[in-house]
Symmetry: C2
Subunit: 455 residues, 2 copies
Amino acid sequence: MTERTKVILDESEIPARWYNVMPDLPAPMPPPLHPGTGQPVGPEDLAPLFPMELIRQEVSADSYVDIPDVVRDVYRLWRPTPLYRAHRLEKALNTPARIYYKYEGVSPAGSHKPNTAVPQAYYNAAEGTKRLTTETGAGQWGSALSFACAQYGIDCEIWMVRASYDQKPYRRTMMETWGATVHASPSRTTKAGADILAADPDSTGSLGIAISEAVEAAGGSADTRYALGSVLNHVLMHQTVIGEEALKQFAVAGESAPDLIVGCTGGGSNFAGLFFPFLREKLAGRINPVIRAVEPAACPSFTRGRYAYDFGDTAGFTPLLKMHTLGHDFIPDPVHAGGLRYHGMSPLLSHMYELGLFEAEARQQRECFAAAITFARAEGIIPAPEPTHALASVIEEAKRCAESGEPKVILTALCGHGHFDMAAYQRYLSGEMEDFELSQERIDDALTRLPTVAG
Amino acid sequence: MTERTKVILDESEIPARWYNVMPDLPAPMPPPLHPGTGQPVGPEDLAPLFPMELIRQEVSADSYVDIPDVVRDVYRLWRPTPLYRAHRLEKALNTPARIYYKYEGVSPAGSHKPNTAVPQAYYNAAEGTKRLTTETGAGQWGSALSFACAQYGIDCEIWMVRASYDQKPYRRTMMETWGATVHASPSRTTKAGADILAADPDSTGSLGIAISEAVEAAGGSADTRYALGSVLNHVLMHQTVIGEEALKQFAVAGESAPDLIVGCTGGGSNFAGLFFPFLREKLAGRINPVIRAVEPAACPSFTRGRYAYDFGDTAGFTPLLKMHTLGHDFIPDPVHAGGLRYHGMSPLLSHMYELGLFEAEARQQRECFAAAITFARAEGIIPAPEPTHALASVIEEAKRCAESGEPKVILTALCGHGHFDMAAYQRYLSGEMEDFELSQERIDDALTRLPTVAG
């Protein structure tokens, strides 16, 4: 073929600014509310958890925020990331579609998560934080924050969902290699964890429970704060380095624009990071891609959740967030895409979904792993379970193009590699992987416990 | 710091030719011998195992061999690989040394091995091979060949050392994801394996045994051949893409030359791939680096082995190779650097060592993992156990520079990531990792069984 396979940019082209989509939206998003008063939360409510600069970014009305040089210096370890043209996948599918994927698995932690972990650790270190707490499910976020904290010399303490802690000891070792302390959640190190264990000593935990523990642990001391790996506005903004680079790389590749952008969504940050800069161009009338979120059928917050105020965690420590939610105590079936097993969704993305700025669909995991095998044999890279959801959608679309003859330009986010997810591949290859049917009754039941908004 | 962290080359700068060091050597290397006749083996002896083009390359007197475009097209999936300046490691060590590492872990299989797996699979496919057999220890080579065979649509059958097969199920799944069939070795699928099992039903295998099985399995049918991941001349030559790129990248970085080049050695291919092009420049009088091989103290073929004719495998199926060997039935203690646990050494490198073209040293694994932790916390990347041997030497050298004030320029090969080796990191971090003392008696005993050369 002898055609360009990947577009690589020089380090000097690492974006100098993050893009803040909020000022460009046709309507402002509903604010987070204090659960007691029903009033919007202010900076003083968030200050025990986050450094002031991140609180400023969370509500910023500026279209751009400068990326500090010391953050870009750490980004240099793996950024700019490659944009691949999937020549070999196209050939395997015999499709006229032109498929591009932006690959974030080249980061030390193996996913897009360090894009926000690094600035979060930096701003905390700059404001005197000595210790950061967080939760992790599959381990991608915990790995990223451990790496980032090692870069700025601050301690990192992680509550890892018990099911993953037991099933994925190597992710835990990765975090410890970078110097972090890892607890299985629920744990007895917090009241939230101890209460859960008192009710159910065999609890295997959930992301919502682990968030409760990490938030509680951060509240206890003045030099400890909390970091969140998705959902919040500043997190999504940090991820826009992905889309800004991809825009430049599209130009280098000689493509005017994608016809379709596809990303997987759990909390929403990887999808947002890819498409926000393209949406800016779309809102300005320069391009017109269809934009699509793909979520797991076992945790379908966009496609089957309710747009309502809910807690971000199980214990109800967080402000109330207006988002697509399945209910804060909804525990998804154990699909392998641990990073997508979150009951809620980014409030910013939820708002944008209500505005009709993108579409969403849900997929079962066996179809996703079938897509992953096709992809891996063609392109080499073995994807993490999360982006296989986007790949399944891309492959279906490319097959449609094979029938219609349409040379559609498709862009997707390959947000991480699957090196720590081979047990899931083993289950798929051996025929043991199952799909889960989620009954409407389970969703309706969890939604009966949505908090009532005071005031 | 805001200094360049990595030098990336465009795809168009993937080398167009492999460099063959043999014509540049001051003396020819001793030929492989037929064990029965004591005479040099000819192409007809090798034809049942290898395609003719690889046999030609094995004995080529040409200084360069063109890389086929269809091979370069697959290289595009990850090459050129980045050359990193280890700013953060230098800072952590407070050293005036300038440390560079060429990172091969960006390949789909996670190491340098695909550099030769891809052309080997290609030449086989081009000459009608339908199935390739091979052995693998830690799994790096088996992964690479599985990936390469998927690219050219040929079957791949792998004998994996039983100890690794049981300890590293995820490497096995990786190979299966790319479509390979994996047997635990010793197996009952070959006579060599069945014989070993008859004598010792609980055998956990060795690389030498697995080679015997893969060679035997290849001999049985006309459309099946065998592939070796290191040791042979053509394998080392394919790896020279590493050093050729590094030479260009040094120029881009504004460095005239390294003062010291350090690589780890098992069979020798990653070390050779890095330094051969630099040696060409040194032999031409243009640069003058010190070149150093680092091997595990548990398997010290250069530093404590004998330079003699020996078999490449345990059962004695291979030609006799003149190399630094610990004896073909020597079983190294179970250090975690599985890729370095080979009783012999590349005959080409052995010859060059005798000619005084590089130096060698051996290191214990705990020192290597201590270096790995220092490296990972500074640079992010978690190294495979094999290159930690080179890192230990680099870090010691950089500390010496910190004392002497010498701004030495050091280049090393970071030949793979450690994502499938976290169990080893866990053992190190928990204090359970042990060093092994290798007695002279064990070496002397194994050497008593060296074959006698007839004729």
